[in-house]
């Protein structure tokens, strides 16, 4: 097996990895704030709002991501009347699916973070004259984020691997090119290369989150 061959099969995989990374970045940047919004809704004193958030989390966590992707990509356009307006590029619909799904998981992670904060923190802020908004922004959120960080890191790594589901909606990405090479050349080497590329991406994330945790140790 020549070096030339390795390079020839690796290049399309790296191009596919760009798609993987793009989806990852879009999904993470959108789903974290959306997840936080859902956390706030779940904690809302308005019953309907809280009910909506809990139902949303239940449905998103209770059905396979693959089903959700297929539904958004191929199912929505079949809806009567509105269907024709819901036709999206496959990559776009994948971004929508990943964002909506991961937001539900992040919402639960943040809710756990909020629960861990002692009520004394709210009281201290109140007697110092903080408004509700100031209390959340300056006191509660930074602490919540710190508590949630390991779980957020975990979820982010899962997201990198879940991007392989793009395969199912026929968006060419890393795994797609590996599979093509395997079928064409009758060798399992491309699978190993794909594995190494995934490991590299998750390694970068792991190091990033470890560093972030260290910085936010408050000691």
């Amino acid at each position: 097996m020549s070096l030339d061959y390795l390079i020839t099969i690796t290049i399309p995989m790296l191009e596919g990895a760009q798609m993987t990374i793009l989806l990852f970045l879009i999904a993470i940047v959108l789903s974290i704030p959306l997840g936080f919004l859902i956390t706030l809704m779940a904690n809302s004193s308005i019953k309907g709002v809280a009910w909506f958030a809990h139902t949303y989390i239940y449905v998103m966590r209770g059905t396979p991501l693959l089903l959700q992707l297929l539904f958004i990509c191929f199912g929505l356009p079949l809806l009567p009347v509105v269907g024709e307006y819901l036709v999206m590029e496959r990559f776009t619909s994948a971004c929508v699916g990943f964002t909506l799904n991961y937001a539900a998981y992040f919402a639960e992670i943040f809710r756990g973070g909020l629960l861990s904060i002692d009520k004394g923190q709210y009281e201290a802020a109140q007697v110092l004259g903080f408004s509700k908004w100031q209390t959340y922004r300056k006191i509660i959120l930074p602490q919540m984020f710190r508590v949630a960080l390991p779980a957020v890191a975990n979820e982010s790594i899962t997201l990198v691997k879940d991007t392989a589901l793009l395969y199912a909606v026929a968006v060419p990405e890393l795994l797609h090119f590996a599979q093509t090479a395997v079928n064409r050349d009758f060798t399992i080497v491309p699978f190993f290369i794909a594995g190494v590329i995934y490991l590299l991406m998750t390694l970068i994330l792991t190091v990033f989150f470890k560093k972030l945790e260290k910085r936010l140790r408050f000691e």
């Binding site: 004394g120 923190q121 009281e123 201290a124 007697v127 110092l128 004259g129 903080f130 602490q143 000691e219």
Partner: protein, 247 residues
């Protein structure tokens, strides 16, 4: 002149009546030690003065303004304006763990009062000096002992220049050898004529520093008086029984 006037305060948690018609007054520059058995309603009474608890009935007046009148509260703006004149120190300190000692002191004047930066800096340095923790300014609370945390909490409350300082069992969560340093700071504040209400189990402190001792039992205000008199000749049978147990 009374700075705080409390009359007929009532409060229940479910079927449990924690405050039954509590009335008292606190004068300017008073240092009031509130004592009584656990569950007597001392903390609830103190917390209702700064609106951490809402009472069901009765009135609280601060500087003549009603925080609550016959169980009815004004709008939240008014409540904030009245409670802003008070500071509170908690049993468990409640420092902000993600902020350094200096940031703990400076955050409220900065974002609540929008004071000038130089002024905030100067005052935080002064107050840390005063509580003997200037060298800990850049440490996070997790690096401090309990006594140090409580001194930071007192400095943090003083940053807002309150007229009245409330203490909810400020030494109860501390190791015995650390209570002295906290009581020392409170004593110094008393000498500087700060008006204070201190819920405490420290009878020595009540005797030495307070100019009024107030006894509560079972949700009721029983009696109060200057410490010499209070400890020497308690008028009420329940006070005598309590003092016998704790002294």
């Amino acid at each position: 002149m009374a700075i705080i006037q409390v009359s007929q305060l009532k409060k229940s948690f479910g079927s449990l009546e924690v405050l039954k018609n509590v009335s008292f007054e606190v004068a300017q520059n008073d240092v009031v030690a509130v004592i009584g058995p656990s569950g007597s309603g001392k903390s609830t009474m103190l917390r209702s003065l700064i609106h951490l608890e809402e009472v069901d009935g009765g009135s609280i007046r601060v500087h003549g303004e009603y925080l609550v009148k016959d169980g009815v509260y004004p709008g939240s703006q008014k409540i904030r304006q009245i409670t802003a004149r008070m500071g509170m120190v908690f049993q468990h300190f409640n420092l902000f763990p993600h902020l350094t000692v200096r940031e703990n002191l400076e955050i409220a004047p900065r974002i609540v009062k929008r004071e000038e930066e130089a002024q905030i800096r100067r005052r935080s340095a002064e107050l840390l000096e005063k509580v003997g923790l200037a060298q800990k300014a850049d440490a996070y609370p997790s690096r401090l002992s309990g006594g140090q945390k409580q001194r930071v909490a007192i400095a943090r409350a003083l940053m807002m220049k309150p007229d009245i300082l409330l203490f909810d069992e400020p030494t109860s969560a501390l190791d015995p050898e650390l209570t002295g340093e906290v009581l020392q700071v409170i004593k110094q504040l008393a000498q500087e004529q700060m008006t204070m209400i201190v819920v405490t189990h420290e009878m020595g402190f009540a005797r030495e520093v307070a100019n009024q001792v107030m006894f509560m039992d079972n949700g009721e205000f029983i009696e109060s008086g200057p410490p010499q008199e209070f400890f020497a000749n308690p008028r009420h049978e329940r006070t005598r029984a309590f003092l016998q147990r704790v002294l």
